[in-house]
Symmetry: C2
Subunit: 343 residues, 2 copies
DNA sequence: TCGCGTCCTGACAACCTTGTCGGTGGTGAT
DNA sequence: ATCACCACCGACAAGGTTGTCAGGACGCGA
């Protein structure tokens, strides 16, 4: 058992190749050769160098390496809304996995749906010269990334498209998903369906609202303004909305929720009430199948989203210079029961 | 709408201070002064420099900055088991938040419970000269971090203690938590309680097993080997285990699960069966309160864990040189119903 | 002996930025 | 006219690493 702490306090200068060279009695360049497994070093010399490296606990300074080589820093940046949201943590993991295959580390940051913070994070990552950037946009304008992309840093936008620029984007079929959900509910007899969506300045929110509307049209049920409640939502606001929507003379009998957060809020709000509305939630979530009734969802695997984005990014890094692509991943309606209850 | 893509293909050299200086007709140093808001630059000159910066899309190379300044890279590393696990993503978010307060970026990596990968990630981060490291150990030996800590990089271990070294550690009270859970179950009449834990080489797993044992003793119920099933667990292995434990002449009537993954597996496995065992799960999880019956848990907030670890880390960075600390956070038994059903 | 090739090694510059220090030109006081 | 002072600016080195190039030692054939 060794005490692993530097009781001296202040940071100590780390050993450099220069130190190793001095100790081994060779030149810096020879140390470099050994560290990089370059040929042309006598085995005895190499051994001395390795011993010195071991003794000094030398570890190559990757920062200096990057500066010298100038090509790749071996990092990519990932800006998303909130890692703690299971949707984004799944996405993060997928990105990490792909990055690992390409020998890259991942810098992550949560924007909390704040455009300024998104920008701050993205530019900070760029200043660190990440090899590429994956961004879940919080803001609507991304011109600030112009110089970055112009100088060869590929950027891929995920889940939402960028504003005022054209770049690689991976989306999901929000419209089709929401529409299918409404059709599903209508097929089970519902004619008064409500939509609880995220803030209208969020791309996915308005897209899903559009899908909701299209679904109503397709299913031949009325689209009613009073049944649409866009966010931002909190647990309290969702509860209040539900009181309004589910009360009165002609209440909604079914709900479509715009993302996993809202779905959870709704579930909590309707847990106690006697006559629960039918429900379909956008985004799948763990345990949805174990609730009573099991929650039907429009599922889109965050892992697939992350993987697609990362692979697109690395394709760019590998030299793909085709025009910016827009990938739209399909969603899947997963009927589990909560959408099948009649009005 | 501008096309944000570098169709030229290969990476273009980014503008440097030298380029800015040339364009503005000043020396590099003057550019540096402007960029760093140093005094002693005529306002007209500064304006010319700023214009050049804007024009060239110049962004200071943080790598070079770090090399030159030598002090801090403004990053910390976080090695955990799996970001996609809600427990760790909550922890990640908390760490990120604290780091943000200290102006640091976070490098994250998932070890997947693989000691080699943990080591690889940690050393990679150190090579990038992170200012500090937060590690959820996967392996049992951490001597490899000796040189890092010796040279002043503080390391904080979270959730599990390090092996063969002494360093700052933030844990939760696993023993007390498991013990309290058993006592709780016994108080509701259960005398045959089973424990489904993680792999025995994981610290928290054996600690919780110990707590389970102590709980049995404290509650005056028998501790039976046949009711203990340590992992690693998969959905299938959990199901098989349950068939064994819940079958036969004297089956277990209550379960304690060792972490949120196992709890979910159990929930899925017992969803269909007629006579469900009582259940208490270690780790809280979203929607636990909405299941039927609501799942009682031993709760420990991953955010608190992450926050404590990060704050400890930054205290070290701020010069705290007191001996390594071991913080044990309390857990809280949250009775929700699943632990209250009788045998 | 010389010339030549091979193997091993080191000096030096460069990557981009900043700290140090010295220089220039102008202003005001003597 | 001289000097001190100030505001502004630039040359240079350094930080840790690697690519380029050149040099020394040695062996071998002529």
């Amino acid at each position: 058992m060794t005490t692993l702490s530097n009781r001296a306090g202040g940071r100590v200068r780390r050993a450099t190749m220069s130190d190793v060279a001095r100790l081994a009695g060779v030149s810096i360049k020879t140390v470099s050769r050994v560290v990089n497994d370059e040929p042309g070093v006598h085995v005895d010399t190499a051994e001395r160098v390795l011993a010195a490296i071991e003794r000094l606990g030398f570890r190559r300074n990757v920062g200096a390496l990057n500066l010298r080589r100038g090509s790749s820093t071996g990092t990519i940046g990932l800006v998303l809304e909130d890692v703690a949201n299971p949707f984004y943590s799944g996405l993060t993991r997928a990105v990490e996995e792909v990055a690992r295959g390409y020998g890259r580390q991942v810098l992550t940051g949560s924007s909390d749906e704040d455009a300024g913070r998104e920008r701050e994070l993205a530019l900070e990552f760029c200043a660190r010269r990440v090899d590429g950037l994956i961004v879940v946009p919080a803001g609507l304008r991304h011109g600030y990334l112009m110089p970055e992309i112009a100088s060869g840093t590929p950027v891929v936008f995920v889940d939402r498209p960028p504003g005022d620029v054209l770049a690689d984007t991976v989306l999901v079929d929000n419209i089709e998903g929401a529409s299918a959900a409404v059709v599903h509910l209508a097929a089970h007899g519902h004619r008064r369906v409500a939509f609880l969506g995220d803030a209208p300045d969020i791309f996915t929110a308005t897209e899903r609202l559009r899908g909701f509307r299209e679904g109503c049209a397709k299913a031949g049920i009325p689209y009613e303004e009073r049944f649409v409640a866009m966010g931002p939502h909190t647990e309290a606001s969702v509860a209040a909305t539900l009181r309004r929507i589910l009360g009165g003379r002609h209440p909604a009998t079914a709900l479509l929720t715009g993302n996993n957060r809202i779905t959870v809020h709704v579930l909590r709000a309707i847990a106690g009430i006697r006559r629960r509305p039918a429900l379909v939630g956008f985004d799948d979530f763990e345990l949805a199948d174990l609730l009573d009734p099991p929650v039907s969802v429009v599922a889109l695997d965050p892992g697939t989203l992350g993987k697609s984005a990362a692979e697109l990014l690395f394709a760019r890094l590998d030299g793909d210079t085709t025009p910016p692509r827009r990938i739209v991943l399909p969603v899947r309606l997963v009927p589990r029961g909560s959408g099948e209850v009649g009005p």
